[in-house]
């Protein structure tokens, strides 16, 4: 479960995220959408413990990430939008690195890592240096690494960027399956179709504030247009 309580981030005079309050329940897939520069990545970075908030709290499974970062982070699978990795490690070495940091059972490491590599079609590249991987392959490796320690919460920024349609389909099914098993997924995306397909609830952020939350149906009634699709809702709620 994720709780954002009065979460605010300011960069000098600019408020990137303004007093955000949100609860994402266990086993829920929450889609976070908004225009460029609305504060999506800043929110996600604060949730992942990469960025400290100016005020407010992030609670991961009831743990305050500011007060107990190690405990909270060990429950998260964090997937950023840009796949920056250690280029001089091989895919397998990178997974080992992550498994050691997150304390994955050492006896199971080989089995689990091979399973994840197979899932993301990276098996034949396992012993190649990451510097030789394409953008999509790096993105897939980050996903494999994020799932290696069976996280209770997955925080993912633009999960489908750089992935081919087959992998997108696989990731969608995987997220649905994980949510069924009780994993909480917080996902920011610009691909409204993906949000509509897999998210239980959607939040729209604009200029750092949450302007609407709810199921697709809730959002439609919000703009008083039952036949509108998510794109129309998005445009209506974020237009200047």
């Amino acid at each position: 479960m994720i709780e954002l309580i009065n979460l605010t981030k300011k960069y000098n005079d600019f408020t990137a995220v303004n007093n955000l309050n949100l609860v994402v329940e266990k086993g829920e897939i929450f889609g976070f959408i908004g225009p460029n520069g609305a504060g999506k990545t800043t929110t996600i970075n604060m949730m992942g413990g990469v960025l400290a908030p100016t005020s407010g709290f992030v609670m991961i499974c009831g743990i305050n990430i500011q007060n107990h970062p190690k405990k909270a982070k060990s429950k998260i699978g964090y997937i950023p939008d840009r796949p920056y990795l250690y280029e001089k490690l091989t895919g397998m070495e990178f997974l080992k690195f992550i498994s050691d940091l997150y304390g994955v059972d050492e006896n199971n490491f080989l089995y689990r890592s091979r399973e994840k590599l197979r899932l993301f079609s990276l098996s034949e590249w396992a012993d190649d240096l990451i510097e030789s991987y394409s953008h999509g392959m790096k993105q897939r490796l980050i996903m494999a690494a994020a799932l290696l320690h069976d996280p209770e919460v997955i925080i993912v920024d633009e999960p489908m960027v750089g992935l081919d349609p087959l992998v997108i389909n696989m990731v969608k099914s995987l997220f649905k399956q994980l949510a069924k098993n009780g994993v909480t997924i917080f996902m920011s995306t610009h691909t409204l179709k993906v949000a509509e397909d897999i998210c239980d609830r959607i939040g729209i952020i604009h200029k750092g504030s949450l302007v609407a939350t709810g199921t697709a149906e809730d959002l439609k009634s919000n703009i008083q247009n039952k036949s509108a699709d998510l794109e129309e809702i998005f445009i209506k709620l974020t237009e200047e």
């Binding site: 920056y84 001089k88 490690l89 080992k96 992550i98 940091l101 240096l129």
Partner: protein, 562 residues
């Protein structure tokens, strides 16, 4: 030409817009600091070259021959440096830059992209070499009382030589890139260049130039140099520039102009040839560089645990650090350079003519041993600046992995500390013990040196890691260069003050202890208090030097936006 100027504009604009950044209040201060050191260095080169040239010219009978011989050698070195620097920079600018895909997608002829990039590369690779060799040439003008034409001509021929070097380098690179990938050439070239430099350096050092102080040896050398009247190779552009400078120095203006125009015409030929060749070969080379490098030695994951007695997160971070370090081929040449530095350092102590000194050998040996602690400390600072200081910046954009992982930044920094502390400690102790053995110092001095190094190394390494964490540059393409930034400069200054302070605090007590030991005297109570107080102060200072920078780095890194 309009397209070329447009392609160059982002560079000018990024430079101009640096001033627009928020939180940029320290920029003026940084510029002033760098400017001060730059001018200091420039002035130093001027004073040294002026004195050397004046001295050479003043030698009766063959002063001019020596001075011109030196000028010819300087120009040849200048030309070689330009070629070396141009090859490395043009490889980066023309083939390895991140923005090349964007540039090549634009509706601009390929030769124009080449020209824009080549101009940037030539300026980047030449400006520093030019700025720091100009004081040498100005010294020649002053010593030879040359007229204004010499100085005007000097600037012209230096620029011409830079263009010729850039032309030769880029033509060479455009051809070779078609056979060997650009990144591999860069590494190979750095390695070859460094080896060549080291061979020359070793050859020079083992010739024992200090013997020139001996009048008998010096007169033989002068006689030998006088006999070297063979002209410099005519096919080298540096020879044409030398001829031009020599003629204008001695007042033969027309002859000087002839050689300048000759050089200018060759520069024109090089520019035209490079542009024509670029139209056929440049894009092909860029395309080849885009393909991923093939790994030379590929092996399957072994599951080997390293080192087993440590907690898992320590193992993970240590093995990552060591693997990424040794797989980065640019580090190899640096290790090679350090090995050479150690050999030369130890050899210098072996070659010291202590027996000829007017001071009693035992005093001199031990005095040198004491000063050697400071000297080894400065070698340690240099190596730490190259390896430990960039350690945090070398995470580059992948630093998010550390920030999002369930580990403390404090532990992360301490692991970095130990990775660099162990090899640097061993290296510095080897340096100090080997040189002390060569100096045949007393047991007391040997123990003192070993203990002092034991105290200095953690402090210096901690400052390297701490300042590197406080002022990281995760966007730098070459993290090793981050040491030239404000944080790097701060690190070196604070380290120098720390090492200097340790030496100064210990100087008097060590002298008293040493003399008492030699003469068999007993120290007074006051002297004992002083000795103990000094060593306690050094010990406390060293503890602070370890703890404070690490805390400082951790605090700043925690607040850092990535």
């Amino acid at each position: 030409m309009k397209d070329v100027i447009t392609l160059l504009k982002p560079r000018f604009l990024s430079f101009k817009n640096k001033g627009l950044l928020k939180n940029n209040s320290g920029r003026g201060y940084k510029l002033a600091l760098f400017g001060f050191f730059g001018i200091l260095f420039w002035g130093g080169i001027f004073i040294v070259s002026f004195r050397v040239i004046s001295y050479f010219k003043g030698i009766e009978g063959f002063g001019d021959i020596l001075a011109y011989k030196l000028l010819s050698m300087i120009l040849l070195t200048f030309f070689s440096l330009l070629i070396f620097s141009n090859i490395l920079t043009s490889l980066s600018k023309l083939y390895l830059s991140r923005d090349l895909s964007l540039l090549n997608s634009m509706p601009v002829p390929i030769y124009k992209i080449f020209i824009a990039r080549w101009i940037e590369s030539t300026v980047d690779s030449s400006w520093m070499v030019i700025v720091y060799t100009i004081p040498v040439f100005i010294s020649y003008g002053i010593v030879y009382r040359a007229g204004f034409i010499f100085y005007g001509n000097m600037f012209l021929v230096i620029l011409i030589l830079s263009v010729i070097s850039a032309g030769i380098s880029v033509v060479l690179i455009m051809i070779v890139v078609n056979f060997v990938p650009a990144n591999r050439i860069k590494n190979i070239f750095i390695f070859i260049g460094l080896s060549f430099f080291l061979i020359l350096f070793f050859a020079f050092r083992f010739l024992r130039p200090e013997r020139l102080v001996d009048p008998e040896v010096f007169s033989n050398v002068l006689f030998y140099l006088k006999s070297l009247k063979s002209p410099a190779p005519l096919y080298l552009p540096s020879t044409w520039v030398f001829d031009s400078m020599k003629a204008t120095l001695s007042g033969h203006i027309m002859e000087g102009m002839f050689h300048s125009v000759l050089s200018l015409s060759w520069a024109g030929v090089m520019v035209c040839s490079a542009i024509i060749i670029s139209n056929y070969y440049y894009f092909n080379g860029v395309s080849k560089t885009q393909t991923a490098q093939v790994r030379l030695f590929k092996y399957s994951y072994s599951g080997r645990r390293f080192p087993i007695f440590l907690p898992r997160f320590c193992r993970a971070l240590m093995s990552k650090e060591i693997r990424t370090f040794f797989r980065d081929q640019t580090q190899w040449s640096q290790l090679f350079l350090i090995a050479a530095l150690v050999v030369i350092y130890v050899y210098n102590f072996n070659a010291l003519p202590l027996e000829k000194a007017p001071i009693k050998t035992i005093y001199l040996q031990n005095l040198l041993s004491f000063l050697n602690i400071g000297l080894a400390g400065f070698v340690l600072i240099t190596i730490t600046a190259r390896f430990a200081y960039p350690a945090v910046s070398s995470e580059k954009d992948a630093f998010w992995l550390v920030k999002s992982a369930p580990i403390d930044l404090k532990h992360y920094l301490w692991i970095k500390f130990f990775v660099y502390f162990l090899p640097l400690f061993v290296l510095t102790e080897i340096l100090i013990i080997a040189t002390n053995i060569l100096l045949k110092v007393t047991f007391f001095m040997m123990v003192l040196s070993v203990v002092d190094i034991f105290l200095l190394v953690p402090g210096v390494v901690s400052m390297g890691i701490g300042f590197g964490a406080a002022y990281p540059d995760f966007k730098s393409e070459n993290p090793a260069q981050t040491v030239t930034s404000f944080g790097g400069l701060m690190f070196m200054m604070v380290c120098a003050v720390y090492v200097g302070a340790v030496i100064i605090i210990e100087a008097e007590p060590v002298y008293r202890l040493f003399m008492a030991n030699i003469k068999g005297n007993v120290l007074t109570v006051f002297e004992w208090v002083w000795v103990l107080g000094s060593f306690t102060l050094v010990f406390s200072l060293s503890i602070a030097a370890v703890m404070v920078p690490m805390k400082f780095g951790e605090k700043r890194l925690l607040k850092m936006l990535i």
